[in-house]
């Protein structure tokens, strides 16, 4: 789709806004509707739009598939790490209270942590699924 000037220009303007909105949804999920799932999908949508307009190769140069797969595993790992951190500090699995003295701060820290894990997983899984379907050639 390289010849559509309107699409290229609009995409260039919109994609940073989409990514910023994804991050907003991710980190403002405690105070307004949102969280890791929605943020991950919106973040991935930015990459998908980019590759629809500029071609899959350009995106795969910036974000290679291997990095996506590793990051997906890292997201799940981050989630479990927060759970085990609670155990190591004397609590139960996924118990955040033991992180700090202040209950509210500890819970918020734990929630932000695992929402980050979920967000990374969802975003990278969505990108990886898109790569899998778009990168396959018809035979």
């Amino acid at each position: 789709m390289n010849q559509y000037t309107v699409l290229r220009v609009i995409a260039k303007i919109m994609i940073p806004v989409i990514l910023l909105y994804g991050l907003y949804i991710q980190f403002h999920g405690e105070y307004s509707p949102g969280g890791g799932f929605q943020a991950g999908i919106i973040f991935a949508a930015g990459f998908v739009i980019y590759s629809l307009i500029y071609g899959l190769e350009k995106v795969q140069q910036a974000v290679p598939p291997v990095a996506v797969h590793v990051l997906a595993a890292f997201g799940v790992f981050l989630f479990i790490a927060f759970g085990i951190a609670g155990m190591l500090m004397g609590g139960d699995f996924l118990q955040y209270r033991v992180f700090m003295e202040d209950n509210h701060a500890a819970e918020t820290l734990g929630i932000i942590g695992i929402e980050l894990g979920v967000g990374i997983t969802v975003a990278t899984v969505a990108i990886a699924l898109f790569y899998a379907f778009a990168g396959r050639e018809r035979d």
């Binding site: 105070y31 509707p33 969280g35 799932f37 899984v125 899998a132 379907f133 035979d139």
Partner: protein, 117 residues
Amino acid sequence: MDWLGLYNYWVVVILMMAGFYIVIAQGNLVKKIVGLNIFQTSVFIFFISLAKLDGGSAPVYVEGITEYSNPLPHVLILTAIVVGVALTAMGLALVVRVHELYGSIEEDEIHEQDGSD
């Protein structure tokens, strides 16, 4: 008019049956997956309508509001939607492989090829 308060369930049942019909009556594999999606969405609507409370508000704390709808079904459906899309992708991947092996995504043609081998 006592029974009119149940209309949300009927909407769910109609949508669910539409999805069910697609899954069992249509031979096209992509369409079967679309049918499963419709079925799934009807279940989502069912859960969310259970969570709704008369006079309640969205479950985000605001000073002065005491009635909220039930956040638990929202959480369940939130995760179910994302799991749903992952499984849809899995199904579509299988459809792609089936098309590569059989050259068709129609159920009866695939059965014919299986029978003739």
